[in-house]
């Protein structure tokens, strides 16, 4: 499953560690929320970056004490129809100001890329290689956005107000 990060297909520096597998002493790891919450302080002290896969039915508020020390938060799309992780992503980015990698995992398809980018995801475990290849093109599909989110893209309403100001300034 290719990983797209910062717009490019790239190798994954993080190892998914199953709940029953031993945690390596070094290196970057991705672990489940249950395992992480079991003993977060010890985990965050080990040598190597820590990432956590957060289920879509658990409040992200529980992650708030650790946000500054987490390198990756992986949110889950069990199917592409289940959109709970979009809300979690926006809460993490916009309310809790999480700045680390926000990774979309699960059933991640090309047709969700724009929504995911707008919600604050910057890394994608893409299900199909052809979708990963199409990332750059797909991400540029839209140039007009009606809603404000934390991604900084300017909204149509805002653009109109700017146009109006520049028109009235030019008169």
């Amino acid at each position: 499953m290719p990983l797209v990060k910062n717009g490019k297909i790239s190798g994954d520096a993080f190892v998914h560690v199953a709940d029953d597998a031993e945690i390596p002493g070094e290196g970057a790891i991705l672990i489940s929320s249950a395992r992480f919450l079991d003993d977060p302080e010890t985990l965050l002290r080990r040598g190597g970056k820590t990432g956590v896969i957060w289920p879509n039915n658990r409040n992200v508020d529980d992650l708030v004490p650790y946000l500054g020390r987490l390198a990756v938060i992986g949110l889950v799309f069990p199917t592409f129809r289940d959109g709970r992780a979009y809300s979690q992503a926006r809460l993490l980015r916009e309310r809790h100001l999480y700045r680390g990698e926000l990774r979309a995992t699960g059933q991640v398809l090309r047709d969700q890329f724009v929504f995911m980018l707008r919600a604050g995801f910057d890394a994608f475990e893409v299900k199909k290689a052809s979708d990963a290849d199409a990332f750059t093109l797909t991400a540029k599909r839209y140039s007009v956005f009606y809603q404000p989110t934390g991604d900084g893209r300017i909204t149509a309403l805002h653009q109109r107000m700017q146009q109006r100001h520049s028109e009235s300034a030019g008169q």
């Binding site: 129809r81 047709d111 109109r160 109006r164």
Partner: protein
């Protein structure tokens, strides 16, 4: 009319090109049907019994003549020469080919029409009063806010994969013509004591297999806070709405299971953290920007009662139509004219391409190029000079849309039913057709007065049977079509869910039963002007039940 600017046009063109690519990937097999299903639904494409069905949005029910002509073109070029207006200000085409859909969408996009989010588990077409901007009792034009909401909900990155569909409706009049109490979010525009525009917000209304009337979650949300408040409700729903059972996934179930107080508290707690998000605040300048792109006719100063109308009053056919289908306009000398799409023996809400073209021409000639679509599946010309009424009536009559039955017993709301729909258990359209024949006599219909019959071919309730004065629900029993009859429902400001009057009856008996109910009403009503719905309210269902089942 709202005029698209370059940004709106760019967005719908980008959407069409995305869908064209999705269809291409489906046809090449790159996308599975399961993957494609959600994508096509988000563009209004259902798979029905015989073919794909294509549902196009008519936001808040406003159309220009140019747009209506383009809908006629789509009916002719890509379908079988007609379209079906729905109960949510959409139009459906029933015989469209998948490979041609991107072209149809592209033709529509040229005139500012789209099919985004007319199906699927997302925020649907924002509906409003079809008399918006012209109704005499209106606080202000609700379409400004409808358009703000249309833009806000279109391709929302957080809310495009909700637990289930989500519908908004807005009214700005005391008399609710938008059925806001049976929507996921209903908005009643009003002003507070300081004269500020805002909304009473209702939540959790809806029909389907578990009908609920919406409850007030907040009596006043200022206009500037509308989007942040709506975003809060959607966010709470997106996270906590049930996803384990499609039949329990609507927000009405969440509101019901939590109770409105607890739900309101969840929303309030979340809103406190959102409301000062300046990006969602609608400053006056922003609202005025949208308002400035709505154009209004330049009305003439006209007499209230022109000579032409006085002369035509001698014609009883004209008078019957005028009394039935012409409503007061906020500007003197003008009127709102409803065009009945319920001819005797016809399927409710259908219009042919030729009719659409003719109506577009009449709108240009008599209604400043504007047409409205109402949830009752009729059309309206919103700005007709009263002096033009006789000429307009003759033209409408010629094309078969002047049946004087608006709001009467034969003005039936019906879903497509088993004739088209893969979900249906029973036929709806032939029941409606038979009823229009039974009640074809206009004098009898007038004597009966206002009476709404709603027919759904299955429990999903697309014909809104729960809120019909008389509701007819098709069910299947041992492979045969049976119909449950409810009475006492209504969809207006006093919305209520109807009560079942007794066991379901077979297909062949439905029209007889409805006639019995109407006869019972005529015998039971206290005065000739006591409406059916009021008689049911006063007496309950029992006397009607007796009448219907005594001999069955």
């Amino acid at each position: 009319m709202y005029a698209y600017d370059e940004l709106d046009r760019t967005l719908i063109n980008e959407r069409v090109s995305e869908f064209r690519d999705q269809v291409k990937r489906r046809l090449s097999g790159e996308l599975t049907e399961d993957e494609f299903k959600m994508l096509r639904l988000q563009n209004g494409v259902y798979l029905q019994l015989h073919a794909y069905m294509f549902r196009v949005a008519i936001p808040y029910g406003t159309l220009s003549s140019k747009q209506l002509r383009r809908l006629a073109h789509v009916a002719r070029r890509y379908d079988r020469g007609y379209g079906h207006f729905t109960t949510r200000q959409n139009i459906q085409f029933n015989w469209i080919k998948l490979a041609e859909l991107p072209d149809a969408l592209s033709d529509l996009a040229e005139v500012g029409i789209h099919a985004m989010q007319t199906s699927g588990n997302n925020t649907r077409n924002v509906t409003s009063d079809q008399w918006a901007g012209v109704a005499p009792d209106e606080v202000e034009d609700p379409r400004i806010w409808s358009e703000l909401l249309r833009q806000y909900t279109t391709l929302h990155p957080e809310f495009s994969f909700l637990p289930r569909k989500f519908k908004f409706a807005i009214t700005a009049s005391a008399h609710d013509r938008a059925a806001i109490k049976v929507h996921d979010i209903g908005l009643r525009l009003h002003k507070n004591s300081e004269g500020e525009t805002g909304f009473e917000v209702l939540v959790g209304g809806g029909l389907g297999r578990t009908p609920f009337i919406g409850k007030t979650i907040k009596p006043f949300v200022a206009g500037r806070d509308l989007l942040s408040y709506v975003e809060t409700i959607l966010r709470v729903y997106n996270q906590y709405g049930r996803r384990d059972n499609i039949y329990k996934a609507r927000i009405k179930i969440l509101v019901h299971e939590l109770g409105i107080e607890k739900f309101a508290k969840e929303v309030e707690d979340e809103w406190r953290q959102m409301r000062d998000n300046s990006a969602l605040t609608l400053d006056n300048a922003v609202v005025e920007e949208i308002r400035s792109r709505f154009t209004y006719p330049t009305y003439e100063k006209l007499p209230h009662m022109p000579e032409e109308s006085k002369k035509a009053a001698h014609d009883p056919h004209f008078e019957a139509w005028r009394k039935n289908s012409v409503a007061p306009h906020k500007v003197q000398g003008y009127a709102i004219v409803t065009l009945s799409l319920k001819p005797v023996g016809g399927p409710p809400g259908d219009a042919t391409a030729d009719q659409m073209d003719a109506i577009a021409d009449l709108a240009d000639k008599y209604s400043f190029g504007e047409i409205r679509v109402g949830h009752e599946q009729n059309l309206a010309l919103p700005h007709v000079a009263r002096r033009d009424l006789p000429a307009l009536w003759r033209a409408l009559d010629k094309i078969g849309v002047a049946t004087p039955n608006v709001n009467l017993v034969s003005d039936i709301i019906a879903c497509p039913g088993l004739d088209y729909c893969s979900l249906a258990n029973a036929r709806s359209i032939p029941i409606a057709q038979e009823l229009t024949r039974r009640f074809a006599n206009h004098d009898t219909a007038n004597l009966i007065g206002r009476l709404h019959i709603n027919i759904s071919g299955c429990i999903n309730a697309c014909g809104h049977h729960h809120v019909g004065h008389i509701g007819i629900l098709g069910v299947e029993k041992n492979g045969e079509e049976f119909y449950q009859i409810t009475i006492g429902g209504r969809a207006d400001e006093n919305a209520e869910v109807g009560t079942l009057i007794g066991p379901a009856v077979p297909y062949g008996e439905v029209a007889d039963v409805i006639e019995d109910i109407v006869e019972a009403y005529l015998a039971l009503r206290a005065r000739p002007d006591e409406l059916f719905i009021d008689t049911v309210k006063r007496l309950g269902v029992e006397p009607f039940r007796e009448r219907v089942y005594a001999t069955r």
